[in-house]
């Protein structure tokens, strides 16, 4: 029951993040496909807390293989104001990323939310606030 509640809270937080605009750097739809939602579970291998948008990388098991995915988030200042810190994600953390796939077919997604194994949702601040 508690886990279910945590999931609901995570979903609500995720939904609230959608209303937080984050990018302005460029059009969301020029890079990502809003119709292609994806959920990725994996292990954090690297975090780039840099402008214009943060990137982090996760190893995802796909059958017998492990594939390294790139995940893009918002600008560091935007994430900071939404509660992220540079140690919010650490190498080795197990995470679930909900987001949207890149249009170019590469192993890249724009995050909507990131959920840690303890159920804590880290704010996404994706660039999904602008869908054009």
């Amino acid at each position: 029951m508690f886990r279910k509640l945590q999931c609901v809270v995570a979903l609500l937080l995720g939904a609230s993040v959608l209303s937080i605009p984050a990018a302005a750097h460029h059009s969301f739809a020029a890079q990502y496909d809003r119709s292609k939602a994806i959920t990725l579970k994996g292990t954090v291998t690297k975090l780039e807390w840099m402008n214009p948008h943060i990137y982090f990388y996760i190893d995802v098991k796909e059958g017998a293989h492990v594939v390294n995915w790139s995940i893009e988030g918002g600008a560091p200042s935007m994430l900071y104001r939404n509660g992220w810190r540079t140690d919010s994600l650490k190498v080795g953390d197990q995470v679930t990323v909900d987001g949207w796939l890149a249009k170019d077919g590469s192993n890249l997604a724009n995050m909507r939310t990131v959920t840690l194994t303890d159920g804590k949702t880290v704010f996404g601040a994706s660039s999904g606030g602008d869908t054009r």
Partner: protein
């Protein structure tokens, strides 16, 4: 008749007198993110046929800020990052978190440089004055390499931007931007946004060096969302 003329002359004289004690607009402010100016206007701007065709065919993968080029003097006020407004002597300046850019507004009565069109730039050249309690900023000299918003509204080097900023409460500024550009628009049009005081006792202006790690450029794909747009010139 003579009295009316005298009154007009007095009004004209008064209009030239600078505001002695201009309001204090200084501080750190959070602006109102507006990725599409048409949403603020309530409709598409009054395009010329050329402007409408540019809007219809715009490819948002070519957004200049996606390549870390400066956003231009008005788009930076509609981007979701705070800025500092400074008032010092004959200068008002804006220090922006976004791309670590600044704008200087000369308040000493000087005109724009006569050769500004030969030295146009992304952020343009700004001069300002006080009209009562309102700061009026006049900007020209912008090149056509910036866009007016993320949606892809563009402009020509003939863009003339007039901004009016006034305090509407202790913690709010009203910003009205008027866009005149005979190449893209048949007449001037304006949008109004609100800036809210940014609590820098709990937060701070943070770094934004856009070229630090701009991985996005390698993944941009052509995106033309307006190809079905039908141009209907505004009736006078």
């Amino acid at each position: 008749m003579t009295r009316a003329l005298l009154n007009l002359a007095l009004i004209a004289m008064f209009a030239q007198v600078p505001t002695k004690n201009p309001p204090n607009l200084a501080g750190t402010w959070r602006n109102q993110y507006t990725p599409n100016l048409a949403d603020a206007l309530g409709k598409e701007p009054p395009y010329t046929a050329y402007g409408a065709e540019r809007w219809r065919t715009v490819d948002t993968a070519k957004d200049p800020t996606g390549f870390c080029l400066p956003p231009g003097p008005s788009r930076i006020f509609t981007s979701p990052f705070p800025f500092i407004l400074m008032q010092q002597g004959d200068m008002v300046s804006f220090l922006f978190e976004y791309q670590t850019l600044w704008r200087a507004v000369y308040m000493d009565g000087r005109p724009h440089p006569a050769d500004i069109a030969d030295y146009s730039d992304f952020m343009g050249h700004s001069i300002g004055k006080w009209e009562g309690e309102t700061l009026v900023v006049d900007t020209v000299g912008m090149n056509d390499r910036s866009w007016l918003d993320t949606a892809g509204h563009e402009h020509s080097p003939k863009l003339h931007l007039t901004e009016r900023i006034r305090k509407i409460s202790a913690d709010k500024l009203e910003w009205t931007a008027t866009f005149e550009d005979p190449v893209f628009f048949t007449k001037p049009w304006s949008i109004t946004r609100t800036f809210t005081r940014f609590d820098d006792s709990k937060d701070r202006i943070m770094p934004y060096t856009c070229t630090e790690n701009n991985r996005d450029v390698d993944h941009l794909k052509p995106n033309q969302p307006n190809l079905n747009y039908k141009y209907e010139p505004e009736k006078e």
